[in-house]
Amino acid sequence: MSMQVQLVGVEKRFGPKRVLEGVDIAFAPGKITVVIGPSGCGKSTILRLLLGLQRPDAGRVLVDGQDLAIFKEPDWMAYRERIGMVFQSGALFDSMPIGRNVGFALQEHTKLPREEIDRIAEDKLRLVGLAGQAQLRPSELSGGMQKRVAIARAIARDPGMVLYDEPTTGLDPITSTVIEDLIVSVAKQTGATSIVVTHQLSTIFRTADRIVMLLAGVVLGEGTPDELKASPDPRIRGFLSGTVPDGWA
């Protein structure tokens, strides 16, 4: 079931650097929201806040109406079992073959027999176009294949929310397209709320139901791709067209 996610007045600092300064975002349940903005604007921090890898200095992160600030360790564990995360680097466990990577959460959190876990892992690998490759090690895969395995691992337990951190950065255009199509088809098949952090134009326009643009730690604008392309703010239009507006730097 898709999850409702909302940031209310969220602030986050790293030392003297203010990364998020009172961010308010309501992510549409079951839709793909793409968070964009230049490097260092706090996009990935939002994902880390949603995962509980970092805590906000002020404001609230609400998931299905619950404030994550009140979570205790067992609550975090239960919550994370409902989330899938695709890391920028893939972050596959290099000590195990990719089938075990995909079946990891099932192995750790369910009492399913090994054969059943392997079957589910194979199904998920098939979904990302890697059927029959379960025995390969992450080191034997290309960057694009690693991202696909990371997606298969993230959706192994049919999560209510899938987070993607720069899923197409560093990939060639064709592999990027494959990953973008995969993000869309996963969202359709699972109905999960998807949050994609990227600054790749192709990823933005091929995947987004809604776009949120951040700049210097604040929300500069949000809406559908068409709405933002027609934004009166030249910084938003410039970012989405790949041109440098006046006063950008």
Binding site: L53, M77, I83, L92, F93, D94, A105, E108, H109
Partner: protein, 261 residues
């Protein structure tokens, strides 16, 4: 930087580090007390840490036992104390050299391996990935390594004791002409089960030091390959220093009448 800052900063850093290691150990111990042991990983670590460290640990102990006896046998024979050659070697090996040298081998081999592996996992986001998959890195990664070190280091120290005594036996009997019976009787009369047990207790504590330091350094590695390298080097240095310092205090407490046999 004034005088107070230049003295105060390292002192504060030292106590901060002590606090961090203590908290890290307590959090890991809490999992153990709750019975939240990841058995599959623990057994895998036991195999890796124990079995793979066996040859180098035995070789070190054998060599030290032989050299120790080679150096001391002549003096004992000259003063007519042939009957204590075996006992002196065994006592030194069982109380000190066995546990400490096995601890040193572990600090070099195992603490470095733990720091390098966990450090690489940290900088490649694999530890964050574990968290995102609702797996506790302390339970999944750290506790298995702690249990493996705390159980395997005493086991290896025990085997090292045997190898060291055997090495001394070889030198005393075949090179220095000491009677096998005299050597064996000397060993039997000068060391008791409590010497062995206390030596192994020290080894278990060194195992805890190696695992905690290696894990903590690895889990806090930053900045890519350079950070992993720094964490690995630091893990070895801190493990060694901690083993040497704690060895003095442990020996003082466990063997208060050392030399009074």
């Amino acid at each position: 930087m004034n005088l107070f800052e230049s003295v105060g900063e390292p002192v504060l850093g030292f106590f901060e580090a002590i606090g961090e290691y203590t908290l890290f150990t307590l959090r890991t111990s809490k999992l153990l007390l709750r019975g939240r042991i990841h058995w599959r990983n623990t057994l895998a670590q036991m195999a890796f840490i124990g079995v793979d460290s066996l040859p180098i640990a035995l070789l070190t102990a054998l060599s030290v036992g032989m050299v120790f006896t080679l150096e001391t046998a002549n003096e004992f024979i000259r003063y007519g104390a042939t009957s204590v050659i075996g006992g002196a070697a065994a006592l030194t090996i069982v109380r000190e050299l066995g546990p400490t040298l096995t601890g040193v081998v572990f600090a070099g081999r195992v603490s470095a391996a733990i720091a390098a592996e966990l450090g690489t996992m940290k900088v490649t986001e694999q530890i964050d990935a574990l968290v995102s998959l609702a797996a506790d890195p302390l339970r999944f990664l750290v506790l298995p390594r702690v249990l493996a070190c705390v159980t395997m280091l005493p086991l290896l120290a025990f085997l090292s004791d045997a190898a060291g005594i055997a090495g001394g036996y070889g030198i005393a009997v075949y090179l220095k002409g000491v009677s096998p019976l005299v050597y064996a009787e000397s060993v039997r009369s000068l060391i008791g089960p409590d010497d062995v047990a206390k030596g192994l207790l020290k080894a278990a504590i060194f195992g805890l030091v190696v695992a905690i330091v290696g894990s903590h350094k690895g889990m806090n590695a930053r900045g890519g390959a350079e950070g992993v390298g720094a964490a690995t080097t630091s893990a070895v240095v801190v493990s060694l220093i901690t083993i040497f310092i704690s060895n003095y205090f442990l020996s003082s407490v466990l063997f208060p009448g050392a030399g009074a046999h």
